[in-house]
Symmetry: C2
Subunit: 253 residues, 2 copies
């Protein structure tokens, strides 16, 4: 399997199978929200597109400048979708449970959801990766039978982000295969950090999140392979994709 890495969205790296990475925080949030019971997450690039999808059976989530968008049910913190996290934030342990009664979550973020929409336009299949589901994604990529995979980093406002590059490097190292120059570099870079907490904590995204008072999201997102969910794009339409949970295929089918 050829393994390619796109460190920034502008490179528009393409392959039959794409894996989208925005570890701080959109793809961590998607994993955690599916784990919490949402059946589908509709990812859209723009705030107004999200508002247009509001209605019965729909919860709205998203951020601009890392802060929850006014009138939305959730921000872009994966902790909001874990019962313990919701309680710690004073939303009450029931908050997630109530909203999970609504089957759909509409999510819009600065970098990650936009890349998801773009990736769905040039990859036949798109998976969603974070550290939370690292092993499950690696297994799903291996099981896909794809001849080429593109590990796509969302970055931060168009620029290279250390945290996403680290996750791409961890996946590239796990996949092996035939890495392109960027995949070789990502794997070498990942190996140069002591651990995920150091890598995620040292970038510009982490600094921005701390400034917004959401620093606790960083160690939350730095936990590795605690979820088995593999979010997958299951539907696409202009400006939006729908993501649903899948478990990696097993040898028995």
């Amino acid at each position: 399997m050829r393994v390619r890495v796109g460190f920034t969205p502008a490179e528009a790296v393409a392959a039959p199978l794409g894996v989208v990475i925005d570890v701080l925080r959109a793809t961590s949030t998607i994993c955690q929200a599916l784990e919490a019971g949402f059946e589908r997450i509709v990812c859209v690039g723009e705030v107004e597109e999200a508002r247009a999808l509001a209605g019965p059976g729909v919860a709205l989530a998203g951020e601009r400048g890392n802060v929850r968008i006014e009138g939305f049910d959730f921000g872009n913190s994966p902790r909001e979708f874990s019962p313990a996290g919701a309680e710690a934030q004073g939303r009450g342990a029931g908050a997630v449970g109530d909203d999970v009664g609504k089957p759909r979550l509409v999510l819009t973020t600065t970098n990650g959801t936009r890349l998801l929409v773009a990736a769905a336009g040039r990859c036949e299949e798109v998976l969603v990766a974070s550290l939370l589901n690292l092993d499950a994604v690696a297994a799903a990529v291996r099981a896909s039978g794809a001849g080429e995979v593109a590990l796509l980093c969302a970055g931060v406002e168009g620029a290279f982000a250390l945290d996403d590059a680290y996750v791409a490097g961890r996946l590239a190292a796990a996949l092996g295969g035939e890495p392109d120059d960027a995949a070789v570099a990502a794997a070498r870079l990942a190996a140069a950090f002591a651990d995920a907490a150091e890598a995620l904590g040292s970038g510009v995204s982490a600094a921005n999140i701390r400034r917004a008072g959401l620093g606790a999201d960083i160690p939350f997102c730095a936990r590795e392979s605690v979820l088995g969910v593999v979010p997958r794009v299951v539907a696409r339409r202009a400006g939006a994709v729908e993501v649903a949970a899948a478990r990696p295929r097993t040898a028995s089918g």
Copy 2:
């Protein structure tokens, strides 16, 4: 000084001071050609633009697919601009001397000259870096007084190239200052290689150059700080820039 790195041209990273890197081989060739005595190098993106500039007092250089363009005086090998290298290639030691009588070299390459033209469109000042002039470029950047520098990698056909990222990392490490995420990553990546020969030799560009039978260019370009020249964009017009030699400013001016 803020230090930014653009690993690929598509990112279009901008700063008042830009440093263009295409170590295999355009920026190594530019350094060596100026050292050999050419007064100006006119860098153009397209072959037809180069041909249109042919005439008395002008030599043409360039490659497509790493191979010298038909009818051109030089390819894109820096060895062609060193007397020993020219002789070894059977051009005779006099070949460089003869062409250097012509004051201008017109150069067009797949990645490097195109990035030089693009960088000149968004940076007030543009320098040209390779490993051959690494220390001299670092000194020139420090002496520039610029508050922000962008280290711009040409990459390979739009994609990330290990060799250019290595040079960006060496420069980022030498400059220190306030690195962005990409500059931190580049410096960490560079430190993960045993030496320049390993870094330059392990990427896709090196494989392409070896396939073209020009593998000897790789160790030639991996020599560090053997030239004091700092090529600088001194004129720009639509689709082209002119580069001339400068020496780093000294404290005494």
